[in-house]
């Protein structure tokens, strides 16, 4: 699979799975969403790190399986201006893994994903 950004060795992890047509929600900056809404924060600043969070996870895109959980994050100051985009991911769009809680997924995005499929469901 061709990844949208360079990933470290052993990334995605071996237990990451194809999305299998599931729908996810993502906090996007742009309305309508653009390609830049679906990349990791490492693209913006590769040197940014957080203790205990692997480079692999920081190279993933956060998506949510539950729209309400995703929407609840808009109560945070840093995410207040985001809009919620709904995306249905095919197996060619990358690999996903449930991480850090029941509704949060890390998505390692492939070059196949088309940002134009994103639909804004909540502003």
């Amino acid at each position: 699979m061709d990844w949208i950004e360079e990933l470290p060795n052993n990334c995605p992890p071996s237990d990451a799975k194809p999305p299998d047509g599931q729908t996810f929600y993502r906090l996007c900056q742009n309305n309508p969403p653009e390609g830049s809404d679906f990349v990791s924060l490492k693209i913006e600043n590769p040197s940014r790190t957080f203790a205990g969070v692997s480079e692999c996870q920081l190279r993933a895109v956060s998506i949510w399986s539950d729209v309400d959980k995703c929407a609840s994050l808009k109560k945070f100051k840093t995410l207040r201006d985001r809009v919620i985009g709904s995306i249905t991911l095919s197996n060619e769009d990358g690999l996903i893994k449930q991480t850090n809680g029941p509704h949060h997924y890390s998505w390692w995005r492939s070059t196949h994903f088309n940002p134009n499929i994103a639909v804004i469901v909540e502003q």
């Binding site: 203790a51 205990g52 994050l73 808009k74 100051k77 809680g101």
Partner: protein
């Protein structure tokens, strides 16, 4: 004024940690919220919280905003670097927190939280918590102490065996370094009524998201103990823990049947809000034991030794080999007359053995026996 905190657990992650817990050197908890995030730098706003407030927040009863707008200590702290586990926070010289740093009203960490007790224990001990629950036919809220000891020991044995199996199958590097008692041993710290509930905690290694390595074994147990009616599927699940893990599971099932007890457990880890529960009723145990008796090979664990045989008694079947792999001596017994005609001390052999862990009482250590089933010369 500055303080050093140790990052303890990431609560909310969205591309980057949004909310995390940390502790100071006196054990006081802090909750830190991402308050600024620019391309070049970021900062978190932190406040100290009592255990009561923290439990209340984590159980979904307390709004995040109130924790930051009205902190118990009226002190607000900030940090601009969380790249290392120990972070330096600086006191903000403010009387009131600016509105633009506060989250909106209505952020509850979790709004659908039964099982409050086990969740509080997870916060308190910051590792996996397991509740074992035992009830007899009459739903007595007590249990003979021998039964309690036996069930606890058998469950612990199953956790140990499935944990080892999960680690050996994983893609971890230096797997053996993870197979240490601290990672699979559970410690009892409380009991509660209902049925009889024994509260256990793990002290296994964990990451900052709160994923504890013992979960590898616990998940494998969950996978095996399911309500699968399809016999083929059930066998497939059982086969996934073939060997000692199945052997210990079978002993647990037999205990459920013999003592006419319903055995339940639930566990939760700091990383997940999900409560994992399973029940073994006497009916379920009977069904699985009958299946295991038809498929005896599932309980077999095969061990292979390669080396020179130092001692052998063809008549009585005893033998001792120095195993090349670890340089240790192993001894055992032999089925049939497999040892006849072998050469001692100079010829290398491969011994294929069945490894049997003998039945144990609560206070005894497990006793491993090797039964030779096949021998061949290695050239």
């Amino acid at each position: 004024m500055k303080r050093v905190l140790t990052i303890n657990r990431i609560l909310i992650f969205n591309d980057f940690p949004q909310l995390f817990l940390a502790k100071d050197s006196l054990g006081v908890d802090y909750i830190c919220l991402l308050s600024d995030f620019a391309s070049e730098e970021y900062s978190y706003l932190c406040v100290g919280v009592s255990k009561k407030v923290l439990h209340s927040f984590l159980n979904g009863y307390r709004d995040l905003r109130s924790i930051f707008s009205e902190p118990e200590a009226k002190e607000w702290w900030t940090t601009k670097d969380a790249s290392e586990p120990k972070i330096l926070i600086q006191l903000l010289e403010i009387e009131k927190v600016p509105e633009d740093l506060l989250p909106d009203v209505g952020f509850f960490f979790n709004d659908e939280q039964p099982d409050e007790l086990i969740r509080n224990e997870v916060v308190e001990h910051n590792n996996v918590i397991v509740h074992l629950s035992l009830s007899d036919e009459n739903e007595n809220q007590s249990i003979p102490i021998d039964d309690l000891g036996d069930f606890a020991k058998l469950y612990q044995l199953m956790v140990e065996n499935t944990y080892k199996k999960a680690i050996l199958r994983s893609e971890l590097k230096e797997k053996k370094s993870f197979i240490v008692p601290n990672n699979f041993t559970l410690r009892a710290f409380a009991a509660s009524p209902g049925s009889f509930n024994l509260h256990l905690k793990s002290e296994a290694n964990k990451d900052l998201f709160g994923n504890s390595i013992i979960e590898e074994g616990l998940r494998m147990i969950d996978q095996v103990i399911n309500s699968e009616d399809n016999e083929d599927k059930l066998i497939e699940n059982l086969r996934s823990i073939k060997g000692h893990a199945i052997s210990s599971y079978k002993k647990l099932l037999e205990k459920v049947i013999n003592r006419k007890v319903s055995f339940k457990y639930k566990w939760v880890s700091p990383a997940s809000q999900e409560i994992n529960k399973r029940t073994i009723s006497t009916d379920y145990a009977t069904k699985v034991v009958e299946l295991l008796e038809k498929k005896e090979e599932l309980t077999e664990e095969i061990k292979i030794f390669i080396g020179v045989i130092m001692q052998a008694d063809a008549e009585k079947g005893g033998w001792r080999i120095t195993n090349e792999e670890d340089g240790k001596d192993y001894s055992g017994e032999s089925a049939g007359h497999l040892l006849e005609g072998i050469t001692l001390e100079t010829v290398k052999y491969k011994l294929t053995c069945q490894e049997v862990i003998e039945a144990l009482k609560v206070t005894e250590k497990e006793k491993v026996k090797y039964v030779l089933t096949q021998i061949e010369e290695v050239k």
